[in-house]
Subunit: 373 residues, 2 copies
Amino acid sequence: MAQRHLDPTDPTSGTSPALSALLGHARGGDPAAEALPGYLRAQATEFLRALRAHRETGSNGGPPVRARPAGADDGAAGSADAALALRRAARRISGTLHTFRPLLDADWSENMRPELAWLSGTLAREHAYAARLQRLVTALNRLSGAAAFPAQPRGTAQAAADGTAKGSLTVGAAKAGALLDRQLTLARTRAHSAALQALGSSRFHAVADSVAVLASEVPLAPAAATADLGPLARAAHERLSDAVAALPLVTAGSPYNAEALVHGLSPDPAPHPQDAPWHQVRLLLRLYRYAVEVLHGPESTVDVRLLTAGEALNRHRDASEAAAAAASAARTPRIAPATAYALGVLHADQRHEVEAARFAFQQCWQKEAVSTS
Amino acid sequence: MAQRHLDPTDPTSGTSPALSALLGHARGGDPAAEALPGYLRAQATEFLRALRAHRETGSNGGPPVRARPAGADDGAAGSADAALALRRAARRISGTLHTFRPLLDADWSENMRPELAWLSGTLAREHAYAARLQRLVTALNRLSGAAAFPAQPRGTAQAAADGTAKGSLTVGAAKAGALLDRQLTLARTRAHSAALQALGSSRFHAVADSVAVLASEVPLAPAAATADLGPLARAAHERLSDAVAALPLVTAGSPYNAEALVHGLSPDPAPHPQDAPWHQVRLLLRLYRYAVEVLHGPESTVDVRLLTAGEALNRHRDASEAAAAAASAARTPRIAPATAYALGVLHADQRHEVEAARFAFQQCWQKEAVSTS
């Protein structure tokens, strides 16, 4: 399928020719009523395949990848891939249940969504901690100029021990890296255990059973037989457009507006409230992307700018959480001033990444609006 | 005089019509040979007037403004204004001696320049420390969200004492403010004493005598009678263009390039070496601006974009030095981790100001290049 240009900035674009073309004709003339159960069945099958792969790669309750002997790495990587595929399918099923709710059996869909959200949330955590640590260690390396310690989290503690020969701030960077390594690896190990526990729970087995049913038979509402998917996908698009319209895009489009670091030293330990609307747009963008997949099949080419916008919002979320992790590590009792200083620099650096990601999103979104208007 | 458009990005622009128009006709047809001594005499007179004002406003060797009783403020402000005017004239005389060296008595000019540089450097320091503290305290307020403590440095220490009721990071911000207040106020007091000592020294009296001679009779070289000022002003312009051409303007023009904070945690306590070429351009831009003043009189309208570029470079210098002051304060022994953390955030914030100033310079310079090419 050729790439198409949407106009997601225009809330009235539900009637634009480009969007109508995209939303109006699902998968080469398949009846709309068939596209929805077809997509759900495919994602359910994908879910079950990933689950089988996860079990076969021997996820055995041991500690996370980096603390294992080298020989176990293949299995661990396979297990991580399987967990990713499981989350990917769970998110798509959950999102589709949400967007096309009126076409599905209400009770069944209302029961299933929170269970899928619980599952993908639980599975995502281990990966998130690992990625956060990697992001922070990479940033510390960049901020220290020459590679003061290896980019692999593994080497951080060792480098901290070696760091005494260097200037005090580099020792600070190495110690900050070692502290983050300890804290985030601990969090990751706990998330790993929680994920394994979840996968062995009766709650999970109930979800898996529901997905197994879904793979063969989708519980549709009576309305589904004659309904058009277009209006529901357009509604998802409108929710996205409305949320984007509420973002401070004028500020975001002005480089170096210093907005993301405002409250950088505020006493509130919670993540910046200014980030929440951006996180919300990230979720709505994903829901809309899944809706497009339902209409055109999961293999359809997504508008590259929609993907770019999504990547900017992922980067926004990752940098926001990394900045919070640095701030949280700085509240560890009895750390050295040099460590705290390095964590302060790191926090500010990641908040500027937040600002940079907003700028990137604004640029990409503006381009989209201009090129299709 | 109408505003004119230069093309300072083009090293060959010495022959461009706009620049020729600007450089070719000094002050409504005054002979070039008269413009140079006229400018120097005027600046020398300005210097002597400022010196008289400085003495009359009773600069008495006391501590800087903010520690004085309220009644002394008028005199102190007048003294600060007079010191500013003194520096302003000294810089212009020194810069003019440099740019138009071949037209002036060589021995006299070679002897006078370092003395003027010493004087304006000595006088500048007190103001620089005060401005740096103000910049850092303003930034700490911004980073703390709501005005956690007053913008006046005076209140910082008190706010630090009050800060215990707030979260630990806000205490950190207040303590960081109090620490910077102590360190920079001490530096400022020392600079104030050094300036007063300098103004009472025989070295200064020799400079003042030379300037007094200059106010009535400028020691010209024999070549001056027939020389054109244009080529020497163009040479100043070319030195500026060459230095700008060597700046990493492509990187600077890409927002959020994260270049200024590279080495933010490096062990080197010296100011970032990457800043030096920008500081150099700042000085060359100033020299060129003075050369334009010589040709068209000190009241001539300077190209607004040249001023904007200069302001961006001033901001670059100020942020660079403020970032270094925050890093230096973080090396104070036995500070609390929360203080060090706040100083780390502050350092990174100011390094991003450095990056923002480079971006602003690039934007302004590009605009100039485009609009005149």
